[in-house]
């Protein structure tokens, strides 16, 4: 009992305990901040990379894609409806995107999707820009350009009624007048190219003309561009959009034969209209991908059913089949079921499958989204482990430091130890006193450190903004580098708990040697002199 009593006394009467508590606190706070930020970073990347895919993905081994995906969709709907909610095919290809108005040309990864299905299977819709303010108006189907009407007297602009109605729907759903006010105050720009150095933020850009609002021009299929494909970012992480919604864009693609050779036709140029832009939050994706209609792309790439020279048709092909599992289905279990289902399905195909098709089917693999994003996630996971180890090493220094502090305490307390022993305390009891004392320092330090670390993480963006105001060089997080607007601000309870436990154990370990020395103090030697 005296252990607890004295440890408690030492804790709040000895200045040196303050140093012990402070060093534990700082270590705990430091490790917690690092693990939270890195962990938050990792989670964000995971979440967002999941957002692009589906739970389970069937992927062809090469660019030409794989046949029989439609038949497999039917098979899944029939036999696996207990675990599968949705399926949708995609095509992934490469090509050039060109902005005719500015003669700008860039390479792009072209993703063909069935937009409605694609939006139910993942979070793609949440990253669309115009879709947010004009819900229901983003489409990959044929569309003209919307031209806002400019009243020459009032200089007021008005959009076509469908867009105004959609916008009102958004305003109702937001409800926050401040947010709406912000929207209203943003300028329209009729044409902002060539890029102007205008200081404002092009959040929504529409073509405008004097007269009534209208739709104009030839109809083209829609194109959604990754947010970093065409736009630069400003310092706040906003995008400098400079093309009006509905502007003509062009994609150039190279069709391949099913066996992967060039078809011999010239490259195909597809006229499109800029329908929206997409932000997944992964820079690698947003700076490369553009999205078009699946069926249109399939046709342009000659991946649809083609007439064969010897009669009959080839099978349409897709690059991926995305499979969304039902709520609550375990990912690995779902993967195993799909894998088994796929093999079963192949067995049902029978002998009339073309040899080439058979080969392509053989190269189809079933993945979970985690498998496919592994390279991206693994890098950050490694980084997290590395940084945690580094800071763990620093904490090791803190343990040694604690050991020194305890050693000093034992030295100073030799007489007290002698007194306790002369009163009948055992060596083990006295050693226990110091371990309990260390544990108390550990507990208090860990608690304060958890508070400090959590407070720091919760306010990390504010802190960094304040620092950046002092000196711009201190702005470590820049949205145009890290593709997230903010540093992650989440502290996981489990992380915090483990760090605290380790800190308490570490403090106790740090006190072991001094405690052992205390146990060996010989009372008469300690008590001989004043």
């Amino acid at each position: 009992m005296y252990k607890w009593f004295l440890a408690w006394r030492y804790l709040h009467t000895k200045l040196i305990a303050f140093f012990g508590v402070a060093s534990v606190m700082l270590c705990v706070a430091m490790v917690l901040v690092v693990m939270s930020v890195m962990g938050g970073f990792l989670d964000t990347v995971r979440e967002r990379s999941r957002g692009m895919l589906s739970d389970v993905v069937l992927e062809a081994g090469s660019m030409q894609g794989f046949p029989y995906y439609e038949e497999f969709e039917t098979y899944v709907a029939k036999h696996m409806s207990d675990i599968v909610a949705v399926t949708t095919p995609t095509i992934v290809n490469y090509g050039l995107i060109r902005v005719p108005d500015t003669s700008q040309t860039k390479p792009a990864q072209i993703v063909g999707v069935r937009l409605n299905e694609y939006c139910t299977i993942n979070d793609f819709k949440g990253g669309l820009h115009y879709e947010e303010y004009f819900p229901g108006t983003t489409t990959l189907a044929k569309q003209p350009i919307a031209v806002a009407g400019l009243d020459p007297n009032t200089e007021k602009l008005s959009l076509p009624p469908e867009l105004e109605a959609a916008n009102r729907k958004w305003q109702e759903s937001v409800g926050d007048p401040e947010e709406i006010e912000k929207y209203e105050s943003l300028p329209y720009a009729t044409s902002a190219f060539p890029k102007t150095a205008a200081p404002y933020y092009y959040d929504r850009v529409f073509a405008a003309d004097i007269g009534e609002p209208k739709y104009e021009g030839p109809e083209h299929m829609g194109l959604i561009v990754g947010s970093d494909v065409l736009w630069d970012r400003d310092k706040q992480g906003g995008f400098k959009r400079y093309l009006a919604r509905g502007t003509r864009l062009a994609l150039t693609v190279l069709p391949l034969t099913p066996s992967g050779t060039l078809t011999g036709e010239p490259p195909v140029r597809i006229p499109l209209r800029y329908a929206d832009d997409s932000r997944t939050g992964i820079f690698e994706i947003d700076s490369m991908c553009v999205y078009v209609d699946f069926d249109m792309l399939q046709q342009k790439l000659a991946m649809d059913a083609q007439e064969k020279i010897d009669g009959g048709f080839t099978k349409p092909r897709a690059k991926q089949l995305l499979i969304g599992l039902k709520e609550g289905v375990d990912l690995d279990e779902g993967w195993a079921r799909v894998q088994a289902g796929w093999l079963n399905f192949l067995a049902t195909l029978g002998p009339n499958v073309d040899d080439g098709d058979m080969t392509r089917l053989g190269f189809v693999d079933v993945y979970t989204w985690e498998d496919l994003q592994r390279p991206l996630i693994a890098a950050i996971e490694k980084e997290k482990v590395l940084v945690t180890i580094l800071f763990g090493l620093i904490s090791l220094v803190a343990i040694v430091l604690l050991g020194c502090i305890f050693y000093m305490i034992v030295e100073k307390k030799t007489k007290d130890i002698g007194i306790l022993k002369s009163l009948g305390a055992s060596g083990r009891g006295v050693a226990g006193l110091f371990v309990v004392y260390a544990a108390a320092i550990g507990v208090v330090g860990a608690a304060l450190g958890t508070l400090l670390g959590s407070a720091f993480v919760w306010n990390i963006n504010t802190i960094q903004d304040k620092l950046a105001q002092l000196n711009p060089a201190l702005k470590v997080w820049s949205p145009d580098v890290y593709s997230f607007d903010k540093i992650p601000e989440v502290v996981k309870q489990q992380d915090a708990m483990w760090i605290a436990i380790v800190a308490v154990i570490a403090s106790m370990v740090g006190s072991l040697i001094p405690a052992f020395l205390a146990a060996r103090v010989w009372p008469v030697k300690a008590l001989r002199y004043e």
Partner: protein, 236 residues
């Protein structure tokens, strides 16, 4: 039951000082009866503290035995020897040796606390606090209970130390020059307190180099050159 409480026989103790060996005790024997107030006198450095530490089982002799109630202390297991330190003897040091972080009451209580686990303390707590308070009152420090040692005078500290030594109701009180650090007046008061305790039945063995102080005892022994000689008997 014999009237003899403590008997030391042929105690030898020497210290190594570098290469030389200082032979402090060279066969010291003594015995103390229940209720006796015994004073051991000797010059400074004659080995009085060394002897008292052996009697209190705070140190081990090179040779010789100390029997308490006919049990050889140095033949006992360590835990039994600790129980002896805690319960059967109370030790009063020349330099008080109080714990600076604790107040007077807690310094007295700590001797009780040592033998208790957290669980058993819950039951013993109230009684112990009452006992400690009573003892402080008895040594005249009732209103100083909440003071830290640094806020007390030398005499007051020694009173706290005496209260601590008595809190477990030991049969034997060992006092090592209890007045050695105090002026004559305060020392006299402390001696008065010890005499009072003795009159109430407390067995006391005290060592001192001061004949004036020793005169309060029933019996005086003289320690010199590492051996003991009878130094006079009760004058009363």
């Amino acid at each position: 039951m014999s009237n003899e409480m403590l008997r030391a026989k042929g105690l030898h103790k020497s210290y190594k000082m570098g290469r030389s060996v200082v032979r402090v005790l060279r066969g010291v024997s003594l015995s103390a009866k229940r209720g006796e107030f015994l004073a051991v006198m000797g010059a400074s450095g004659s080995g009085k503290s060394t002897l008292l530490h052996l009697l209190g089982a705070l140190d081990l002799p090179n040779r010789g035995t100390v029997e308490y109630e006919n049990r050889d202390l140095f033949g006992l297991p360590r835990s039994a020897r600790r129980a002896y330190c805690n319960r059967d003897v109370g030790f009063v040091f020349q330099f008080y040796h109080l714990l600076p972080e604790l107040n007077a009451l807690e310094n007295v209580l700590i001797a009780r606390l040592i033998t208790h686990s957290a669980g058993s303390w819950m039951g013993a707590r109230r009684q112990s606090r009452a006992d400690a308070g009573e003892l402080l009152e008895r040594v005249g420090l009732k209103d100083r209970a909440r003071h830290r040692p640094s806020e007390l005078s030398g005499g007051e500290r020694q009173r706290v130390a005496i209260a601590r030594a008595l809190v477990n109701r030991p049969a034997l009180l060992l006092a090592d020059e209890p007045t050695g650090n105090l002026d004559a007046k305060i020392g006299g008061e402390i001696m008065g307190l010890l005499t009072e305790l003795n009159e109430a039945g407390q067995t006391i063995i005290m060592v001192t180099h001061d004949a004036q102080v020793a005169s309060r005892a029933h019996r005086r022994l003289q320690l010199s050159d590492g051996v003991m000689s009878e130094g006079g008997t009760d004058r009363r």
